[in-house]
């Protein structure tokens, strides 16, 4: 019965792993979300942690569309909980589609393609940051009308192109490191315990 179709046991794994991802992500937001600057690097930090979940998930399920379903669930739930801004959906689902594309090219077995896939996956909640830049102009206009130019200026200092590039690069590095950590932990624990 080596069929490549998703079955009930896979649906349950998808739900389980999405739940772990969501809970850990929300825990990070709650603890680090208030800290200035670091806020923008939560995606990078979370990638360090989630690499293990992703690697474990792929080796457990490893079937077509599994990554796509898990990613879409996470994107949609986070979006609907925090307000569905189109940027979140476009970036999130885009990242998930790319992740599914790469991981299935490597048939869920190539470490290199899995890592590339996870780099894409690592951007699935990037839409929130992206909104800051994409919706910047209208927002600044509103701030100026509201509270004056000076205020808007301070806030605008954060939202500059260099910052955006830094965030993207760090997020990618986080994802690559996370993937390696995941590989290491999988070998150290789960393979030795005979789970995968």
């Amino acid at each position: 019965m080596n069929n490549n179709k998703l079955e009930v046991k896979d649906f349950i794994s998808i739900g389980l792993f999405s739940a772990i991802y969501l809970v850990l992500y929300l825990a990070l937001i709650i603890t680090l979300g208030m800290v200035p600057v670091i806020y923008f690097f939560i995606a990078a930090i979370s990638n360090l942690i989630m690499g293990t979940i992703y690697t474990l998930f792929i080796s457990k399920v490893g079937k077509k569309y599994s990554v796509a379903i898990m990613g879409s669930l996470i994107v949609l739930i986070v979006s609907f909980m925090t307000g569905v801004v189109w940027t979140k959906l476009v970036f999130g689902l885009g990242a998930v589609a790319l992740a599914e594309f790469f991981v299935s090219r490597g048939e869920y077995k190539s470490f290199k393609l899995n890592t590339i896939s996870f780099v894409c996956f690592g951007f699935l909640l990037f839409g929130t940051y992206a909104s800051f830049w994409i919706l910047k102009d209208e927002f600044m206009q509103m701030l100026i009308e509201h509270s004056g130019t000076e205020y808007a200026d301070i806030i605008a200092t954060f939202i500059n192109p260099t910052m955006l590039i830094v965030i993207i690069v760090v997020t990618i590095i986080g994802a690559i490191a996370g993937s390696f950590i995941g590989k290491g932990l999988l070998k150290k624990h789960f393979e030795r315990a005979g789970i995968v």
Binding site: M1, K9, K188, H189, R192, A193, G194, I195
Partner: protein, 472 residues
């Protein structure tokens, strides 16, 4: 109803080892069959085969023929088999799908596409039969283990299978919940359902059982009629590794503490090694446990019994310093919560939570103080029968081995007070006896051992006295 002919089975990952050998079995409609035998004798495998989990979900090599409700199990998937067979498992925590009790009760029926009107009828009927009125429309996470197990039975029942299969349903339940479970089982039998139960503790089934199947290393050794089984001598039964057929009575001194009633405090001898005073723990505003005074000495094994929800776990958590409460004196010195964490060990019911590292040796080193000698570690491992596993990953060990590893870690950490939370739930007689031996070793090391348990056979084997907590 069930017909099995010369059946062999081996799991996919160890194809040369037959876990079931030459099984031949016929179960008639309406029969109540108990499957028993030591852990690993193949009874769960056999049950999983009847429900179709094997070979459709858990893969392996199956030879022979197995027909359930006139269906060839090998040709029908689990979902199809679920129309005829309903299963209830050991762990009440992990077998529910929904968060809401009402949805859970109807889970099986709704999966089978039962029409809406009929769903309503089934809910009404099931509620009545299982007495669920108070449990409906609630969050399952707020229920006790016994209540969860009841919901699991109800959900299975509402799916209207002909055959019911129970895999150690009582392992995690207290005495009261076990009684309720056997009530459920006998009403299922009255409705003429075919029932198979695999159990180690089966005294509660003795009034309803028709046939007992004794299995040993994958084979059916013998099939007993009820009377035949009941007339087995104690000695013969113990030699088979089986537990008591009768409800065990505690043969030790019992001290009853009525929590919340100040007059019922029990003062042990003064100058005791261990004294707990004025423990009054509340969850929000509801009092959970209220104990005035307990005094005990080391080199003792004390059982703590009482219904689920009487505050046994809270007591353990307070003693270990995981929860705040009470005044604790050890050798006359007061111990704060922080210091308690260093003096006490709690061996949890689910020991999987307590193993952190990548090998048995690392686990011991993590617990040991820095200057622990290898010799010492090896000695403890040898005493606990773990020496040959010292390079293995803790998660690859068996349940009993994991438990012993946690015990070993607590010995290395130099903890003198060890609390066990339900250490023998789901164990057969042989393994329970082995556990009692370990307890005796611990006792000689001048430790105080507290065992929270529902297992009266264990108490008679190794405990010195019993504290019974009751809430009124």
């Amino acid at each position: 109803m069930i017909k099995i002919e010369s059946l062999f089975f081996s799991y996919q990952n160890s194809p040369n080892e037959d876990v079931l050998k030459n099984i031949n079995l016929k179960v008639k409609a309406g029969e109540f069959v108990l499957l028993t035998g030591k852990s690993g004798c193949g009874k769960s495998t056999l049950l999983n085969m009847i429900s179709g989990i094997i070979p459709h979900h858990t893969l392996g090599n199956l030879r022979g023929r197995i027909f359930v409700d006139n269906k060839d199990v090998q040709k029908h998937g689990v979902q199809e088999m679920s129309l005829s067979v309903g299963s209830v498992f050991q762990n009440p925590k992990s077998q529910f799908f929904h968060l809401n009790t009402t949805d859970e009760v109807l889970f099986s029926a709704s999966n089978k596409g039962v029409p809406e009107l009929e769903l309503e009828n089934r809910l009404r009927e099931t509620t009545k039969l299982f007495n669920l009125t108070k449990l409906l429309h609630r969050n399952i996470f707020g229920l006790s283990g016994g209540e969860k197990q009841k919901i699991a039975c109800a959900s299975t029942y509402a799916g209207k299978p002909e055959i019911f299969v129970f895999d150690e349903p009582s392992a995690n339940l207290d005495q009261g919940a076990i009684d309720e479970l056997s009530g459920i089982l006998s009403s299922l039998k009255e409705k003429n359902h075919t029932i198979l139960v695999a159990e180690h503790r089966f005294f509660h089934l003795m009034d309803i059982v028709d046939k007992v199947i004794y299995m040993e290393s994958g084979e059916i050794k013998r099939v007993y009629q009820r009377e035949e089984f009941l007339s087995l001598s104690d000695q013969a039964r113990k030699a088979m590794g089986l537990r008591d057929v009768h409800r065990t009575e505690i043969k030790k001194e019992i001290l009853t503490l009525v929590t919340g009633d100040e007059s019922s405090n029990w003062a042990g001898s003064i100058n005791s090694d261990f004294e707990l005073k004025h423990l009054n723990y509340k969850y929000g505003k509801t009092p959970v446990i209220n104990i005035e005074h307990i005094a005990l000495n080391r080199e003792q094994v004390v059982a703590i019994i009482g219904k689920n929800g009487c505050g046994k776990s809270t007591l353990a958590h307070c003693l270990c310093g995981l929860k705040k409460g009470g005044l604790l004196l050890l050798n006359g010195k007061e111990y704060s919560e922080k210091k308690r964490l260093k003096a006490f060990e709690l061996v949890m019911q689910d020991v999987n939570h307590q193993l952190f590292t990548e090998s048995v040796m690392d686990e011991m080193l993590l617990a040991a103080s820095n200057d622990a000698l290898m010799e010492e570690i090896n000695k403890v491992l040898a005493e606990l029968d773990l020496l040959e596993y010292s390079a293995k990953h803790p998660m690859s060990l068996s349940g009993g081995q994991k438990q012993r590893l946690v015990i070993g870690a607590s010995i290395m950490a130099g903890k003198d007070y060890i609390i066990f939370d339900e250490p023998t739930s789901g164990l057969d007689y042989v393994h329970m006896e082995a556990f009692a031996e370990i307890i005796k070793i611990l006792k000689t090391k001048n430790k105080l051992i507290l065992i929270i348990t529902h297992d009266y056979e264990l108490i008679n084997l190794c405990c010195d006295r019993v504290i019974s907590l009751s809430d009124n």
